[in-house]
């Protein structure tokens, strides 16, 4: 009897996946991608941000990012600390990601010892002068988009799903994102960002993926190119570590003041 029910269930599954709409398939891919990144606990990484203008002139920023995985219904928490430019040393930003409502974000200005809350309205704005917007660097929760599977496509020798993500937040700077996700590991390989006028604004390419703890894939290089201005920003990650035992108290408004 049990066997019959199981087989019936499997048949039903097969039929439903057969009859899956592009929206359902897109969502299923996003959920699977999210599931595969679950369980990292906490993480620490150093990163260098390299800003290049149209003529190739570069300037850079060094920062460190600590992350804490949200439990249950909570989103992730992250703390970003700036080391350079030297006048920005000690500036720190704390983000509480939320699945549905807008993220909470605070900035600490060490010269004034002042903690300022950042308006979520700001999410489409440039992050520290770069081609990344605040919303591009915040933790990607499934609930922040609606999805539509478009097609399968080979990209750089990887068999990929191509999915269209539409932001649910009205303050997003994008009308849609086209995302290439490799079928084997569910990593985001490339994202095209379309602005409010629906024209192609930016392309993000994630390269040099490495696997940590035998499970979590992280790109060592993220390159964002703005097609409308010719400017680009590269994020170069180094020294990733996971499950280092970071505590909740390291991700509080007050902890910003002692972030180093």
């Amino acid at each position: 009897m049990k066997k019959i029910i199981t087989s019936a269930f499997l048949v039903l599954m097969a039929v439903s996946s057969w009859g899956q709409t592009p929206e359902e398939k897109g969502l299923a891919i996003a959920i699977e991608g999210d599931k595969r990144s679950e369980g990292y606990g906490d993480s620490k990484v150093k990163l260098k941000m390299i800003l290049a203008d149209k003529k190739g002139r570069e300037s850079s920023r060094d920062m460190r990012v600590k992350g804490l995985e949200g439990k249950g219904g909570e989103g992730d928490k992250s703390l970003m600390i700036f080391d350079t430019p030297k006048d920005q040393k000690g500036v720190a930003m704390l983000t509480f990601t939320h699945k549905v409502k807008s993220d909470d974000q605070w900035l600490f200005l060490p010269a004034l010892k002042r903690v300022k809350k950042i308006s979520s309205r700001n999410k489409s704005g440039p992050f520290v002068g770069s081609e990344f917007a605040f919303e591009d660097i915040s933790s990607q929760e499934v609930e922040k988009y609606t999805y539509k599977y478009l097609r399968d496509e080979m990209l750089n020798g990887l068999d990929c799903f191509v999915v269209e993500n539409t932001p649910t937040d009205k303050y997003s700077g994008y009308t849609k994102q086209i995302v290439w996700i490799d079928k084997a590991e569910y990593r985001s390989i490339k994202i095209e960002f379309y602005d409010r006028k629906k024209s192609l604004l930016k392309t993000l390419v994630n390269e040099d993926y490495k696997q940590y703890l035998g499970k979590f894939w992280r790109p060592n290089l993220m390159s964002m190119t703005n097609h409308q201005t010719g400017k680009s920003t590269r994020l170069v990650y180094e020294d990733y570590s996971f499950n280092v035992g970071l505590k909740v108290k390291e991700f509080t408004k007050n902890s910003l003041k002692r972030a180093r």
Partner: protein
């Protein structure tokens, strides 16, 4: 004096070295070169200030920061000495220990002992609630530069919010420019007088509870001790007009509110203060010269002061990367014309804030503070940009336009200035 200064600087460094043999010590240095240009409005100069005719003033300051942590980051010491050398003003050439703090973190509490700086408040136009640190007023007219405050601070982070408790065992007098220098109003300061018989050693206490709910942030604070704001009494002495600061013992309750609603940030801060006299007079002899230490205090009831308004930010205006903010705040003091020197009795701030969001983090803040009863106003401009990593440029300009000679701003009527600051980070 020099030896004392050396000892003061060296002692904590040695302590740091001793405590931390083996631990990493980081050093940071900031050197500022500042050039100010002043514009006299000769037609209205008073005899007191006629002698100040200096147009350009150069000044250099140095701030070090030494930091070391151990115990897995749960304990640390930070040390920030500061020194400024000013071309003209001896009073402005001064040193301070901005910070010398031992920080201890546990699961239950965070403890800080030493000299430190704490900022409270949300508004831009006035910092009414902010009371822990004394203002280093020779450093800037906006009241944002502070002297290191001796303190024991305990912080409790709980479900119901953050509770900060302070014991402040020593008082720092407000710095003031020398009478022959700019932004001094031509006045010389005699040694301060205190209400507390313990004078600077009066032990002050303070506490602040802060929390947030969704987009609303709120805080309530209390303070009891020597007022950071002095009352200024004037008299004549052998060398001419002089003033003396009187520091009463006060009690203050402060409230801060900030509500973010999409592009809007609604802000309020307010205080109720008790123990602040209305005025002080010094006993004078028949020739108008000060006689002894006599002091007449005109007591007053408690008063309140508020600053409230909003900042509205437009992200990416005109399809550029530029953010444009509009700031409007109203400042009110229930003492009205009896409010002391430098207070805002009934003023409005209108300002615009520009953030270029470029790789040099360029920003510009331009504003006007307008007293709608006396019709006097002051205009200010503050800008900042980075020339390259390690060198930043700041500009500050202020124009004072008092409407008559009976408003407190009148003292600054000839002090319009433009200041350029180059900051070099090592």
């Amino acid at each position: 004096m020099k030896n004392t200064l050396t000892a003061v600087v060296m002692a904590p460094m040695l302590m740091l070295a001793a405590v931390n043999a083996g631990a990493d010590i980081t050093f940071d240095t900031q050197v500022d070169y500042e050039m100010s240009g002043f514009f006299n409005d000769k037609a209205r100069s008073s005899p007191i200030q006629a002698g100040i005719d200096q147009r350009i003033n150069n000044s250099v300051s140095l701030e070090l920061e030494v930091f070391s942590a151990w115990d897995g980051g749960d304990q640390s010491i930070s040390f920030k000495p500061f020194y400024r050398q000013d071309e003209m003003d001896e009073e402005r050439s001064h040193g301070d220990i901005r910070e010398l703090l031992w920080n201890k973190l546990s699961d239950e509490y965070e403890l800080k002992v030493g000299l430190g700086k704490v900022f409270w408040g949300v508004t831009e136009s006035a910092h009414l609630v902010d009371i822990i640190n004394q203002t280093d007023s020779v450093e800037g007219i906006d009241g944002e530069q502070k002297l290191g405050q001796p303190m024991v601070q305990v912080l409790l982070e709980r479900e119901w919010g953050n509770l900060d408790l302070f014991v402040l065992p020593y008082f720092r007098e407000r710095t003031s420019a020398g009478s022959d220098a700019r932004l001094s109003a031509g006045l010389d300061y005699a040694d301060a007088i205190y209400e507390s018989s313990d004078e600077e050693s009066n032990v002050d206490v303070a506490a602040r509870w802060s929390h947030y709910w969704e987009e609303l942030e709120y805080a309530v604070s209390v303070f009891h001790g020597t007022s950071r704001d002095p009352l200024i009494g004037g008299y004549l002495d052998a060398t001419g007009p002089a003033v003396q600061a009187y520091y009463p013992v006060i009690s203050q309750v402060g409230v801060e509110l900030q509500f973010l609603d999409e592009g809007w940030a609604w802000k309020f801060e307010g205080i109720v203060r008790d123990g602040m006299p209305e005025d002080v007079y010094y006993g004078l002899d028949l020739s108008g010269v000060r006689a002894g230490l006599n002091l007449d205090i005109v007591e007053a009831d408690h008063y309140f002061a508020t600053a409230a308004g909003f900042e509205y930010t437009q992200v990416g205006i005109w399809e550029t990367r530029i953010d444009l903010g509009w700031v409007a705040e109203h400042i009110y003091d229930s003492r009205q014309e009896k409010a002391g020197f430098g207070a805002f009795e009934h003023d409005v701030l209108l300002a615009t804030r520009w953030a270029a969001n470029d790789d040099a983090d360029s920003t510009l803040l331009a504003g006007v503070v307008y007293d709608y009863e006396y019709q006097d106003y002051s205009v200010s401009l503050e800008g900042n940009t980075r020339l390259f990593d390690g060198l930043s440029l700041a500009i500050e300009a202020r124009v004072f336009a008092p409407s008559s000679d009976n408003v407190s701003q009148y003292a600054f009527r000839d002090e319009d200035f433009v200041k350029l600051t180059l900051s070099y980070y090592l």
